[in-house]
């Protein structure tokens, strides 16, 4: 038999005073703690990174050394490409379309660009060295026609795309990267070849790069279709007068 009783609504459990409102103080304290964490976060972050790095040296299986990178992909699974299967095509509004193998790219003059990789999700990895072929070298080799004004990038994950204006693409800190931290770019970081657009948010640096196409105007990339800025300059990196 169920005892319906009377709801003792609002009554303190114990006889006597209703007790102190500790619960709401705890809620407020949590909010304060959260705000303090947000304010102190940038200082704490580097310390945590060192802790994580040392942990991954002790137990690499438990704490993988991701150097602070987080794995993002817009598709379910990405095919793996290596020196024998990888191809990079350069085409569109150019005089000399070309297809490069990994070895051919590695034989071209290599440049290292060191810059923070900053994700729109809030994480960042400081001073990442990316090494590869300057994008403008590939464009010059292909011979951009007069009507070419922008560059579109496609990826062998089958979905991702990005774009830059021709002016942005010719910058000396935009590199088609083969190496990261002086090692081949790993698959999870967009290897064997990815773009690195140093002065912009990391979503502009397309992973698993497979196609470079010169176009007459900027074609929005994957995330830009969902509201991201087409010119994804990092704060303070936008060229004056741009």
């Amino acid at each position: 038999m169920i005892d319906k009783g009377m709801p003792d609504a609002g009554m303190p459990d114990a006889t006597g005073p209703a007790g102190r409102p500790v619960g709401r103080r705890i809620v407020l304290a949590m909010l304060g703690l959260g705000a303090a964490g947000v304010a102190l976060g940038p200082a704490v972050r580097s310390g945590l990174g060192e802790v994580r790095a040392s942990l991954s040296r002790v137990a690499p299986a438990v704490v993988p050394d991701d150097r602070g990178f987080r794995y993002f992909s817009v598709v379910g699974s990405v095919p793996r490409k290596d020196a024998t299967t990888y191809r990079l095509t350069v085409g569109g509004l150019v005089d000399r379309p070309a297809t490069y193998t990994l070895d051919q790219l590695a034989a071209l003059p290599q440049t290292t660009v060191v810059h923070d990789a900053v994700c729109t999700d809030g994480w960042q990895v400081d001073a990442v060295p990316f090494t590869g072929v300057l994008l403008r070298d590939l464009l010059d080799a292909a011979g951009v026609r007069d009507e070419g004004a922008a560059v579109r990038f496609t990826c062998f994950d089958g979905a991702y795309s990005e774009s830059l204006t021709l002016e942005q693409a010719r910058r000396s800190d935009v590199v088609v990267a083969l190496r990261m931290f002086d090692e081949p770019v790993p698959h999870d970081s967009g290897g064997p070849v990815r773009l690195f657009v140093a002065p912009m948010y990391f979503y502009k640096s397309a992973k698993w790069l497979s196609g470079i196409e010169v176009t007459s105007q900027v074609q929005q990339g994957y995330w830009e279709d969902y509201g991201y800025p087409v010119d994804g300059w990092l704060p303070g990196e936008e060229p004056v007068g741009a």
Binding site: G16, G41, R70
Partner: protein
Amino acid sequence: MPERVLRFSPAERAVHRATGLLFLVCLLTAVALYVAPVAQLVGRRLLVETVHEWSGLLLPVPALLGLWSGPFRADLRRLDRFTAQDRRWLAGLRSPDPHRGRLAGKFNAGQKLWASWLAGAVLVMLGTGLLLWFKFGLGFVPRAGVVLVHDAGAYALAVVVAGHVLKALADPEARRGMRTGSVRRSWAAREHGLWLDQKPKSPIPPPPYDGGSSSPSAPHASQAADDAA
């Protein structure tokens, strides 16, 4: 059949069920977004991110809707207020005798602390989550700090909610209370004696079957109602 007492109203159980479900969706999508091996397996960032954002935004909604319910509001007041008995209950944790001083009302001191911590943590996650949602145009907010708090909060919440689930797994009658709404009187007497003391001493008798000619309520039942009011 053992005598049972009402513990949770249908509204409270619905709030609990909806909140639990939303939390599970939040947790699973969070794992798929940020635990590298799972993220590599799942990918599909736009879909997972959207589900995570909306389940997170909706997480406090069942409790807000629950404010329409009197029993739910009453339980919020109980969870908020700490009495001298709650301090004795906490002191009893350190005692070698596990039952000394462990008298509790509808919620014991541990449950009150847990619920308050959870409410605060969910609000912090909601706030930092919204800051992360708006990726651009919030230059004055240190994003590294927001990520740090949201990450640390996620780990802490996972641990604390796992504790909640383990405690429930260890106590079938507590689970039955949340599932069916009622608990065995003997369980209530052992775990929440002060609460049971405030409920009527005897069950309300069934409605009379003699044609309805008797008085509308039995005297001892209305007496019990006066006691509880």
